[in-house]
Symmetry: C2
Subunit: 350 residues, 2 copies
Amino acid sequence: MSKTMIEDLPHLRLNLLTGERILVSPHRSKRPWQGQVEKLSNETRPAYDPACYLCPDNTRADGSQNPQYTDSFVFVNDFSALLSDTEEAVMDEEQLLVAETARGICKVIAFTPRHDLTLAEMSVAEITKVVGVWKREFVELSKTEWINYIQIFENKGAIMGCSNPHPHGQIWAVNALPEELKKEDNRQREYFEKHRRSLLSAYLQVELKKQERILIDNPHFVVLVPFWAAWPFETMIVSKRHIQDISQFTEEEEAALAACLQELCIRYDNIFSTSFPYSAGMHQAPVNSGPQEHWHWHMHFYPPLLRSATVKKFMVGYEMLANPQRDITAEKAAEIIRNQSTTHYKQQHD
Amino acid sequence: MSKTMIEDLPHLRLNLLTGERILVSPHRSKRPWQGQVEKLSNETRPAYDPACYLCPDNTRADGSQNPQYTDSFVFVNDFSALLSDTEEAVMDEEQLLVAETARGICKVIAFTPRHDLTLAEMSVAEITKVVGVWKREFVELSKTEWINYIQIFENKGAIMGCSNPHPHGQIWAVNALPEELKKEDNRQREYFEKHRRSLLSAYLQVELKKQERILIDNPHFVVLVPFWAAWPFETMIVSKRHIQDISQFTEEEEAALAACLQELCIRYDNIFSTSFPYSAGMHQAPVNSGPQEHWHWHMHFYPPLLRSATVKKFMVGYEMLANPQRDITAEKAAEIIRNQSTTHYKQQHD
Ligand SMILES: O=P(O)(O)O[C@H]1O[C@H](CO)[C@@H](O)[C@H](O)[C@H]1O
Ligand SMILES: O=P(O)(O)O[C@H]1O[C@H](CO)[C@@H](O)[C@H](O)[C@H]1O
């Protein structure tokens, strides 16, 4: 049976990075929707909001005042989920109640002083500066020797739990490898030990040959819809060089990633002519943990929207209890994203 | 360091059933919320809705007419994610693009003809009939020899992707063990092989001794907030007998589970005086798969609400990319649920 046929039938696809499978139900995409519709938040924001705790010069929750910053601004989260001074403690009752304390540093990065922008509306030069801040923060945080993993991410849009529309991301640097990373670490190590080549290098090669799920292909990065995407418009950015983390980026790579981010976010916004919500973040090698040559830098985008600016995919019931599931295929999603203009809909004048 | 101290510090807890850890940030529960607020859906529904595809006598998407049913009503989902006649096919390109077709039967169960009820507002006798239907369906479906796992679940509330408020659940019976179940299968097998005793029997014993997270303890079932709960008000129902699946329930157990479900759902509704949304479902032994003595029947409740009827926990960013995280502890959540009246708020007249 040919691949084309499998794509039309209900099937399971293997996620190479986690080893878990996702259920695809292509025949079901014509299901009518009678469920929850989200609020449309196409409000126009002012360039400066006196009530925003991220805008320059404003006062934050802890009483401190933001600087009059011009590019980006980084500070420790006033409500950090992890603290740097938590003392070590373990609990183990008959191996049934098992816990241990966790340490970390949680930072917030305002991408720009402009309250009204998003990555899709910033220039490549401005985004390149953000990439530079991520790199600097990564290098700085990895100098703290109890830190073992640094998660750089962004929650964008109220629907993704983002509590402030000012363009910003977060960094949580933690003392123990988080669960998703353990899976990716194992899978990449296994592959590398067997093939002396990174899993994502091999995967990129197949994808570049097929050209079915590729969105952007520049000299330094590939942006694609992974074969095993779970979210309707999930995408992944993979570096062409087999490098472990952002500290190894050349200046050219920093600018090339910025260009990818801008183009991807513009296309996303254009799908439903809305500021496209997502959670996105880099996966990179653990730090202070010995050799990590099996690791290959990449970045995931998990956007929740499915049918329109207001109808999202619900990862509930069967998905929570049993197995992630999607209706439209990765190939169909790639086609939709590829068909979008690279000019932002707000700039399109006809 | 005592357990009481660990509970006040950021820490990681082991989920015995999956082997994965969840991050707890107790110090963070006082964080102010400026993010998304859900629509409050405290509409009063009519006992019969002529536009509902689950109400008796109405016409469904495929043109068929519902019977004039008096208890529950079961039918094959008109938009099934899995189909029973999908032919077998596999795809494997260099072990990098790996997929195979999946087969299944997806059913819908209307719990009652009454459009306006929920499990919290049904009588124990009525819920007992629903338990009976689940059991019958489980037994029937497991006679189909290519079926290996039967997921019984309910998505309740628009916020949980439920597209019709008529009280109903679903059953997806599938040909391959889903991902969450693989994890629970492995962990329970490991424990059983080592201790000749089910993991959840041992766990229940510790919990009953501690009495810190117990919500209901009747002769047949325990309802508790699991030590490793990820969702703010997550709970679990565990059978006291070490049985593998619902087909082994005695009549007394069927009624006892119904009583637990009613009491739990009433307490849930009372927390925020709202119809409490959740995804819930049973985890039980695979079928047609050989001996399963390591399995222990249980049921998970994953409710999204956190602070009020309209503010939920967002499992986004760090949670999707790295590790599930919660703020209030399992112990605090248990205390809140325990403090609720067992009389439904709509019935409370003062
Ligand atoms: O079949 P329903 O209730 O319309 O759909 C709901 O439950 C399914 C199973 O959990 C999910 O896949 C859908 O995303 C959700 O909207
Ligand atoms: O810190 P924030 O942006 O207020 O909070 C948001 O991101 C966090 C990290 O993904 C999540 O734990 C929260 O649930 C979410 O609301």
